[in-house]
């Protein structure tokens, strides 16, 4: 049993990267051992990768529901607790209620989708991670874990598929 090494294969374009990922799969690497990082968002089906799930919509929905509750409290709970009469308008007015509830719902929806993005991506994370600065210059990086005795085999396969460079990469501080 040998330690798996993390190798980084850098690609310039999408087509060689997609072919290389398929090659990795042929070589016996499961999908969760590969980490594809890119400077522009590439839909997972373009690279032949499994679909990524996100929790952001669910968290956003819960935020919207919280917003509705806050809005209803503001417009109905407050006059119930502290009634004050003004200008012949009803104590529990419906049109202003719609306005305030709408705004609070939207605030909840958007605020929680923002927070949800943080939570789901585990932001902020400042520990050392798999990354190279070339990624933000538009390169596609495929980090994969392979058993160290097969390292040369993998390196050769990636070079054949058109990788710019293949080398072992430690997790680094961003």
């Amino acid at each position: 049993m040998s330690e798996p090494t993390t190798l980084l294969a850098l690609f310039e374009d999408i087509d060689p990267a997609a072919e290389a990922i398929e090659k990795l799969r042929e070589l016996g690497l499961p999908d969760d051992q590969m980490n594809v990082i890119s400077g522009v968002p590439i839909p997972t089906r373009v690279l032949g990768r499994p679909r990524v799930k996100t929790n952001v919509p669910r968290i956003a929905m819960s935020g919207a529901i919280l917003g509705i509750l806050v809005g209803v409290f503001l417009i109905y709970g407050i006059p119930y607790l502290y009634p004050l009469h003004v200008g012949g308008q009803p104590l529990f007015p419906i049109p202003p209620g719609l306005i305030v509830t709408f705004e609070m719902t939207m605030l909840g929806l958007m605020g929680f989708s923002f927070i949800g993005m943080f939570l789901d991506s585990r932001f902020p994370s400042y520990e050392p991670m798999d990354y190279v600065p070339e990624i933000s210059d538009g390169k596609i990086a495929v980090f994969f874990k392979c058993p160290s005795e097969r390292q040369a085999e993998f390196e050769k396969a990636m070079k054949e598929m058109g990788a710019e460079s293949v080398e072992p990469k430690e997790a680094q501080e961003l």
Binding site: N35, P93, P133
Partner: protein, 477 residues
Amino acid sequence: MAVTANAVSRPYQEEEQEDPREHLMFDPKPRGEMNGMVMESMHTTNWKFWVVTILLTVVVVTCLFGAWGYMIAKGLGVAGVNRPAYWGIFLTNVVFWIGISHAGTFISALLRVMKVEIRRPFTRAAELMTTFGLVQAGLSVFMHLGRVWRSYWLFPYPNQRTIWPDFHSPLMWDFMAINTYLLASTMYLFLPLLPDLAMARDRSTGWRKNVYRILSLGFRGTEGEWKNLHSAMNIFAFAIIPVMFSVHTIVAWDFAMATRPGWASSVFGPYFVIGALHSGIGAVLLVLFVIRSTMKHMKYFLRPEHFDFLGKLSLIISFTWAYFFFNDYLVPWYGGDKWEKLLLDFHEHGPLAWVWMTMLICNIVIPWAILWNKKWRRKPWLMGIIGFVINIGMWIERYVIIPISLTITRMPFTWRIYKPGIEIPLTIGTFALFMLLYMLASRLIPLIPVWEVQEGQEAHTLRKVGKATIPAVSEID
């Protein structure tokens, strides 16, 4: 009638085809090069930049904070508000700045939802306008309060007096809406900024790198991160559009709910929203022109085609504004309410009729005279001027609606014309602060969303259809 095909002297292609590389989306550069251009435009300054910055800082400190402190100490008597014009230039500024901020949301949210690709390079510049515009609007709201040190009472919080704010009031709807909009647009500014902050982090050294490292939250660009970012950005784009419409409608309702002649108009809601877009798109034109002419490499990203697009949009919105204005004009003109008619007469023929006329010239006549011409729309300097003129017209429109309309009440004994006082330096101060914030931001925040430009450039291809090469966009998202 028989149609004969005559042989054309020149081949078809030469006459009809323009060079696709004229368009940013068909003129791709390597991402690394584009990154370098944006970083360089952030870091390159000359002495002129610093002179302007220092001047603006001086103006902000004296005209904004100095004058405001004086007003807080002495009371609103140093301003020009009186009976019956209890609201004057402060509220004009509030509506103006909120209006400007709507263009940013329109461009980055509505155009994103409609997949209008030409928006790609200028979304961030527009969104920055939104955030900084809302800052000025917030300041102006605080400025107009009589006892600004008690303004926290508008916030619903538990207190011993068991009294909470009154949600019957349109000002409270305003409070909720503007805060929602401010928070939402700041978050929406930050989301697409995250990958560019990561890029800046990778390309910076020293204290800058530390700042970007912290701000970019450890963003790398993994599949999960992109998916979450996309998901959040989609929710924002869809959700912030109704918020954008509702915010300025609620601001309009501050006036429409009042019993003043000329204010209690049911058309005010949509009228103000269109007015916001009108002034906002004009401001975007002006800001883009300034960015393009003063910052390095921006001529690659901001091209005549973008000014052309915004010019067309501005013309359409000017038509729509004229439609709503005519609605609002026709009803009192036709008669029925004596006070509304008196107010209309005052606008058109009173001592301040020149203000009303200037508004119509700036908002309708000049845009309609210039913006129909494609060649003129592609001149950034002309578009910058048109944007400036439209903003003058729209500021005057709010001045007409607020202090000038307040002159006429149902009790003629109280009629009195508003004369601005300390509002003038305070207004200059808000404009200076807006420019100062923008200039400082241009040093720290990459103004072009390079990842979106690259994403767009990768999706745009040239297809051969028959004998012609046709530009095509793939929906690769």
